[in-house]
Symmetry: C2
Subunit: 413 residues, 2 copies
């Protein structure tokens, strides 16, 4: 089958999976799309599908990595310390109108290489502050949102440096469609089946109510992750405040919950590279005591990692624990994508930073103080990092001390 | 010379011409760029040149013709009757901060074909109303601004339907660079020479203080265009309120002034197609009486033309008179570009709608009432249309009734 024919046939199906199985756009809902300018063709196709599905409006926030990098290179520090009012109003206004937010992303691990990290951190803080109501709403699933991948020329060159530009882009599209379970004849049906399986896993885990999970592997990981009382495992569709189901990531292979912020102890080693704000961090090792990172080393990007841990109070504690079998479809591709959206779905992972309120009972209705009391971490960041390996074992500890094997040799026990 | 090598060498020069001879970006000024998503590579190059020239910030308003058309196809009328606050604030806020505004455009004569014109007109009115302070400021040259062309796949296909996409785009780049006098070794020096010539023409015309111009050609044009007292001819750099020179269009081949809104009489025939809000109007004929269009016919797009004339009170009167020799570099290319920015610079033209306040003495400081009293037209629209032909004669009438030949056989007398 010719690659162009495949793309012509499958891309509209990918758009429908994003809209129907991912963000689950509602009739008469506003859809806000964050899209790289390079992806305007697919974004146009996605827009048409969204209108056909009944979108009241489709609004764009286009972004361009090239001009954004230049901004960081040339603009002075003060420009990053506040957000223009029109920019924060864009997010807040559509959020208050009940819009759904869809972000199309591409990998670019060197996008911010060499840029003064003070600028990057200042902008992240300022932006988080300026749109806090929106960010908190996303974390608490108050509206439906989605992050999904599209190719870019930089990404294609990174993965297939030997191919001409257009061939590399096409090849990357095929891999992304494959990872998103969108290469089959009926991706919508495949997704229904996949989501039902994730639902079964998550319900089993929630029913266990483990008080902690113990991680072990030959790389040196020896970590205990405490889980709060009445925690909930998510994965395979969750409900917004207004009661419609959605999946915040495509692809998604994970079931996930929230660690107890002050009950994480031991050592964990990363197993895939991490790209954080346009910088690469590789082969790192974190030591936790009472939930807090007390030591951090990395073969590459150690300074970036240390800055990340200092972003705020909660940046050095865990906010997510997610389980994915080592033999998941994405890990079987044997590709490091240098993009967390893909790489996190190829491997068990943890996240530094903010926890999802929906991971404890009635969490979406709790305020910050109540969430903290329930054991959940609070931060402006939420950064996943991968810890899955072919020899990983995870053991669940029940309240009565009995142990249940959850993962053996990297896969579900 | 290989076409890619030519583009690699000349595109940075084009960017510098836009910044130094077009918008004349000032050190520490904010630059707002309206750009089609398709032109992100050139926009990135332009951004780097702008920062190197001392821009304080470069801010983007990206737009996409594909998704914009879908918006008009699917969204209901009410969505076009008001402008989101963040969107108007974007223009107003940067305008009040003294930003320069640069728009990159491409031709797309069928962009809005078949779209209900009520939606298009409603949005134009709403947008004009929402950013009136900004629009009035642009017309009165209160800050520096520029419109310049970039290729698009749609435009390349329109002009070179026989060429593969990338070849068509490259060919169009070469034509646009040629039209913008940016194919030579030292385009900046070429522009200095060109602007000096335009300045000479404009100073001669202003000194004449013609009370009217008479147009005649074999197509049936027989038109008298009255000129107000103390009118000024512009062209080849004008000054902003803060005193720096700029050129609002690249290419620019014209010298132009403002007609007296109630002293235009006779018949004028169009000589090139006109694209207005994504619709094509061809071979049209306007009859004026006391400055007002009293009859309008067109072989193609007559309804669009009639809607245009009804946009507001001033839409059926002239706001600009511009002189360009028939044998200008752009007309010698013998290409209809279907984009006014190019086509207007290949031909003498007139504009329906708003007049430039800078075309009468002290006009930039006058309020609406004073401008009206000075004889200048006021409208939310400003639509150029082409009237130049190889047999056009234009005769200037002095106050004492003596006649001076200005154009003979389409060129300067």
């Amino acid at each position: 089958m010719d690659i162009q024919e495949t793309l012509t046939r499958q891309l509209p199906l990918y758009a429908r999976v994003l809209l129907q199985k991912g963000i689950c756009l509602q009739k008469d809902q506003i859809l806000v799309i964050n899209a790289p300018v390079e992806a305007s063709r697919f974004a146009t196709l996605l827009t048409e599908e969204a209108y056909k599905a009944g979108a009241a409006q489709v609004v764009f926030n286009w972004y361009c990595n090239g001009t954004t990098r230049l901004r960081y290179e040339y603009e002075t520090q003060d420009k990053f310390e506040s957000v223009p009012h029109w920019r924060s109003e864009f997010n807040l206004d559509y959020y208050r109108k009940g819009a759904a937010f869809l972000s199309l992303i591409s990998a670019d691990p060197y996008a911010m290489k060499g840029i003064d990290r003070k600028k990057i951190m200042a902008w992240q803080k300022a932006f988080h502050q300026a749109v806090k109501e929106y960010s908190d709403g996303m974390m608490a699933s108050k509206t439906n949102w989605l992050v999904a991948a599209v190719p870019s020329t930089v990404w294609a060159r990174l993965l297939y440096p030997e191919l001409p530009e257009q061939e590399g882009m096409d090849r990357l599209w095929i891999q992304l469609l494959d990872a998103a379970r969108c290469l089959g004849e009926d991706p919508l049906a495949d997704w229904d089946k996949h989501l039902a399986e994730l639902k079964q896993r998550r319900e089993w885990l929630t029913a266990q109510q483990f008080t902690a999970l113990e991680y072990e592997n030959g790389l040196g990981t020896h970590l205990t992750v405490g889980l709060p009382d009445r925690h909930i495992w998510q994965g395979g569709a969750e409900s917004t405040a207004r009661g419609f189901l959605f999946n915040a990531n495509i692809p998604t292979e994970e079931v996930y919950s929230a660690p107890q912020a002050d009950r994480v102890d031991g050592v964990v080693c990363s197993t895939r590279p991490l790209v954080y704000s346009g910088n690469l961090i590789e082969n790192f090792r974190l030591t936790f005591k009472n939930g807090k990172v007390v030591e951090a080393t990395a073969k590459k990007g150690e300074e970036v990692l240390k800055d990340l841990l200092k972003m705020d109070e909660g940046a050095c504690r865990l906010g997510e624990v997610a389980l994915i079998p080592y033999h998941s479809p994405i890990s079987l591709m044997d590709t490091v994508f240098y993009e967390t959206l893909l790489d996190e779905n190829a491997s068990c992972h943890l996240a530094l930073g903010d926890a999802y309120p929906t991971c404890v009972e009635k969490g979406a209705e709790m305020d910050e103080e109540e969430l903290k009391k329930a054991g959940l971490n609070d931060s402006m960041i939420h950064v996943d990092f991968m810890v899955g390996s072919p020899d990983l074992t995870i053991t669940g500890i029940r309240k009565d001390g009995t142990k249940v094997s959850v993962f053996v040799n990297g896969d579900w026990a």
